[in-house]
Each structure stands twice: as structure tokens, then as C-alpha cells.
């Protein structure tokens, strides 16, 4: 059982992440870590949303559901897992709110 945190997150400062995209495949370069990551469409959408507006797992699930019908199946624990993954890769950081 995954623990849902109220923590708000935001993507790293603008200019840190460089994007490249073909069809539904996304590649993001993190200029802080120097690492290149391959993301599917949903993960890319979530990360881009965190670039625009800082939010927590629950809010992210709602935002995603509004944007995309496939994402409607995703719940808050899914988003929490995704956020933890992004955090461990250093793509996002906690946002003091």
C-alpha cells in the first residue's frame, strides 16, 4: 500500500529539462544530472504539467484526468508512484507551499 503524501512538487527550474518528441515517444534531458530519459506519453504529460504548475499527487491525478481520457484510469497512488520516480531521477523537486 503506497502512502499518499500532501507534498507539493514542481519540475526543475525552466531551462533545466530539454525535450524531444516523436509521435508518442518523449525524450527528456536533465541538464542538472546530465542524464537522458525516455518517457511514454502519460509520464511526459505529467512531467510537463509539473513544469507548468506545482501540485501534489492528488491534484496531478485530477489534472491528468481532465486532459486525457486514458489518464482517467490513473488514480492518486499511481501518480504518487510516478512522482517518487521523478523525484529519484531528480526531474522534480519539493515545492514549499
Amino acid at each position: 500500500m503506497i502512502e499518499i503524501s500532501r507534498q507539493t512538487w514542481k519540475a526543475c527550474a525552466s531551462g533545466t529539462l530539454l525535450w524531444e518528441q516523436w509521435n508518442g515517444d518523449y525524450i527528456v534531458y536533465n541538464s542538472h544530472s546530465g542524464e537522458t530519459h525516455f518517457l511514454n506519453e502519460l509520464a511526459a504529460m505529467a512531467l510537463k504539467s509539473l513544469e507548468e504548475v506545482p501540485c501534489n499527487a492528488e491534484q496531478l491525478a485530477k489534472t491528468m484526468a481532465m486532459r486525457d481520457s486514458i489518464a482517467a484510469d490513473l488514480d492518486t497512488p499511481d501518480m504518487q508512484r510516478l512522482i517518487e520516480e521523478f523525484d529519484s531521477l531528480g526531474l522534480i523537486e519539493p515545492h514549499p507551499s
Binding site: L18, E20, Q21, D25, Y26, I27, Y29, S31, G34, T36
Partner: protein, 312 residues
């Protein structure tokens, strides 16, 4: 003056004393050596390379016989850059391949003013073809075959990308063939100038193909990349040439580069610019003659027709 114009003795004296200055692509190299097998192979494999005057050298390299007791029964040679040796000594008879590996090491660890892909690069009609290295790809074999069939060799090992123009900068050097591929190329191209075979290296048996005089003489002419082709050699299977996913191509090309990480953001931007501007293809092949024909036709027909042939 070209290296071949030296008499054997004059070349030996030059390498023993002040050193020989020559050039491959953008790099000027000063070479000193007292290793006989190396001097002989230099005269053969680098025959068409220019002899330069003393000047700023990008690499000061030397192949020096070790002077310890071993020299009497088992002479060993050290590769040195700036007077220091980054590697263990090699048996003297392996000094020619050691020179190739040593020089690759120097370029790969220092020339970060380029993006350096680990690829063979060839050119025809002003369009360059990038063949990224991958174990089991048969990159060098195909590279030698194309270089012996009218393609201009830019490099068998380094896809040097100019960071401003994204052009491929030639760095023609002997092509290293391994094991069975040595005989395959000898049989298919009896006219090829292939040096002696060196058995029992850490990569098995190695032999080098001398680059054509055309590719040596045009080493100052960069080319724009048109195709990136990921290879897979499968014995006696038909040629299959098909489009390859762009995102995967970017990741593979980045992974395969010598200094993608070193260049940071610039590395990402260069690799993605290349992938955007090139046709990315997947090629599996089992027969060299057939694949040369297909790649020759690339320029005229693009890859679309090849898919039809495959599905037919």
C-alpha cells in the same frame, strides 16, 4: 611529400630522431618510434599521408621499445603520449595495432571540441552514412566493403561531429578487420591493400585495410549526414532495410557516442539534430554484395522501395 616517398631507412631515421609529423583529418600528429614492425606498417598503411613540417602537434605519440632485460628474448613496446604511457606494454610484434588503439584512445579522451560518435562514416555524392558500432553489427566489415566499392571513407571508428555545423569531419585511418572478416574482404576485393594479420590480440586476429588515396586526399572535406543505419549481421539472411524509430535512434546514438555525457546539453542537442535531419534505418544483412547494391541505391530511391522489395 607523402610517407611512401621516404626510403625505409630515411623513415626509420626520422622516427628515431626528431619524429615524423603527419595529419589525419583535423589532427596533426608527431610520431616517434624505434619499433621495427610499426615503422614497416606505417610505411604501408599510411603510405599516402602527408609529411608535414614541425608545428603545433595535437598529439605527441611514441612507440618505444622497453629497455629492460626482456628486450633480449621478448621485446616489448610502450605506447606513449606526451612521454607518459597510459597502457601496459605490448609484445613488440603487436606495435601496429597498438598504435591504432593508442591513437584512438588519445582522440577519444581529449577531442571534446567534437561530438564523437563510435561509428563508421562513409560518403557518396556529398551525403554521409553513419554506421554506429554495436557488438555483432559487422560495422568494420561493411565499412571496408563500402570503402572498396566507391564510397569515400571518413572514418571506421569516429563519427566526428562539428559542433557548429553538425557536419561530419573526416578522420580517415586504416580500417581494422577482425577474424573471419579479413578473409571475407580479401576474397571479395582481391585488389584491397591489407596489411599483415596480427593473431592473439585481445580482439582476436586483426588486420588493417589501407584507406584509398581519394579518402586521404579529401580528408579536409566534411560531409553532411543523410542516413543513420543501425546494423545487424545475420549469416545468410536476406537484406532487410527499414525505417527505425527516431526516439530509439536518439538513445542508441547517444549511448554509443564516446563523449555524449561530456558535452552535456550540447551533446543532447547535437544528437537530436542529427536524428531529426537524417533518415534513421535498421539494416540486417547476411551478404555483403547484396547490401552494397542496396546501399548504393539509397541515394536514388531512398529507403521506401527497399521496404517493398522486402515485403514482396
Amino acid at each position: 611529400m607523402r610517407i611512401a616517398e621516404f626510403s625505409s631507412d630515411a623513415l626509420k631515421t626520422r622516427l628515431h630522431t626528431s619524429g615524423l609529423y603527419t595529419q589525419t583529418g583535423p589532427f596533426k600528429i608527431r610520431i616517434k618510434s624505434n619499433s621495427r614492425p610499426f615503422i614497416e606498417s606505417l610505411r604501408f598503411l599510411y603510405a599516402d599521408y602527408a609529411v608535414l613540417d614541425r608545428q603545433l602537434a595535437d598529439f605527441h605519440v611514441a612507440l618505444e621499445l622497453q629497455t629492460n632485460y626482456r628486450r633480449w628474448f621478448h621485446p616489448q613496446v610502450l605506447f606513449k603520449i606526451d612521454g607518459k604511457s597510459p597502457f601496459q606494454p605490448f609484445p613488440n610484434e603487436l606495435s601496429p595495432p597498438l598504435f591504432e588503439w593508442g591513437l584512438n584512445w588519445c582522440i577519444g579522451t581529449r577531442a571534446h571540441h567534437y561530438l564523437m560518435l563510435h561509428s563508421a562514416v562513409l560518403e557518396k555524392n556529398g551525403k554521409a552514412l553513419i554506421l554506429p558500432a554495436h557488438p555483432g553489427s559487422g560495422k568494420s566489415t561493411l565499412c571496408a566493403a563500402l570503402a572498396l566499392s566507391g564510397w569515400r571513407l571518413l572514418s571506421d571508428e569516429f563519427g566526428l561531429i562539428d559542433t557548429k555545423s553538425t557536419c561530419l569531419v573526416p578522420i580517415p585511418r586504416p580500417i581494422a578487420l577482425k577474424n573471419e572478416s579479413i578473409n571475407v574482404i580479401r576474397k571479395l576485393f582481391p585488389q584491397a591493400a591489407i596489411g599483415p594479420s596480427f593473431p592473439k590480440t585481445r580482439k582476436g586476429t586483426v588486420a588493417h585495410v589501407r584507406p584509398s588515396i581519394m579518402s586521404v586526399d579529401q580528408m579536409d572535406q566534411p560531409a553532411q549526414a543523410a542516413w543513420i543505419i543501425f546494423l545487424k549481421y545475420k549469416a545468410s539472411s536476406p537484406v532487410v532495410l527499414e525505417p527505425f524509430d527516431k526516439a530509439q535512434s536518439l538513445l542508441r546514438l547517444a549511448n554509443n557516442a564516446f563523449n555524449y555525457e561530456v558535452l552535456g546539453k550540447q551533446g543532447f542537442q547535437l544528437v537530436s539534430a542529427l536524428v531529426r535531419s537524417c533518415q534513421c534505418l535498421w539494416l540486417s544483412y547476411g551478404n555483403l554484395e547484396e547490401v552494397i547494391e542496396r546501399l548504393d541505391a539509397l541515394d536514388v530511391t531512398g529507403y521506401a522501395s527497399t521496404i517493398d522489395v522486402h515485403s514482396a
